[in-house]
Symmetry: C2
Subunit: 123 residues, 2 copies
């Protein structure tokens, strides 16, 4: 259960482990990244932007991020229904971290591109 996950989290002392316990998984960071880039964001927009994710997973992950106080959900009683997601004030504190992660991802991509093109040359 979810409540269990929360209980487990309370035992954690290491800040890194704590952050991981909230952000781990294939999708959380990408969702966060997408919402940081443009907020608010609708369900469908997220689904399109995060290639490979299924609606089921997107819903589940969004619920967890909401429960953890990082994003908030606003429902509009329109037809068809509209739901917007945006960062909470606390959620905005992830921005520097996300920036560094993205940044490092770029370095990593660049490095691997080089390694690949070298393949077997130089050394």
């Amino acid at each position: 259960m979810n409540a269990n996950k929360i209980k487990e989290r309370e035992k954690i002392s290491c800040p890194v482990e704590y952050a991981v316990s909230v952000l781990s998984g294939k999708w959380k960071l990408r969702i966060l990244h997408a919402i940081i880039k443009q907020s608010p964001k609708r369900f469908k927009e997220l689904e399109r932007e995060i290639s490979g994710i299924t609606p089921t997973m997107l819903t589940a992950q969004l619920r967890e991020l909401e429960r953890d106080g990082i994003i908030e959900r606003e429902i509009f009683a329109t037809v068809p229904p509209t739901v917007e997601y945006r960062l909470t004030e606390f959620g905005k504190t992830t921005a520097p971290m996300m920036h560094e992660i993205k940044n490092w991802g770029l370095k990593l991509q660049a490095l691997n591109a080089v390694l690949k093109s070298n393949g077997k040359s130089t050394a």
Copy 2:
């Protein structure tokens, strides 16, 4: 298979997804954090510092980090055997990211401590 994981990675364009593909899992970031704090670090020291990890997992994760060019391993033919792990030059580029992650973890812990004391006491 591992080679497969590498192949998959080549298709990724999003930097965040790329970073996640290398760092995801329960242990990678904690291992990195431990080695950043003090380098070089021996196998046993890592095992002690990263509470909960088993030698099997520690080995597996270290191998992946090594393969991804983030850490390097040095073996000393002593009795008993000694192995030291340290960051590569590229591995050092994770420092700002790790700093932000740790930092955010601290904020998160602080927030949840408040939420808990509100929700519980006073009641």
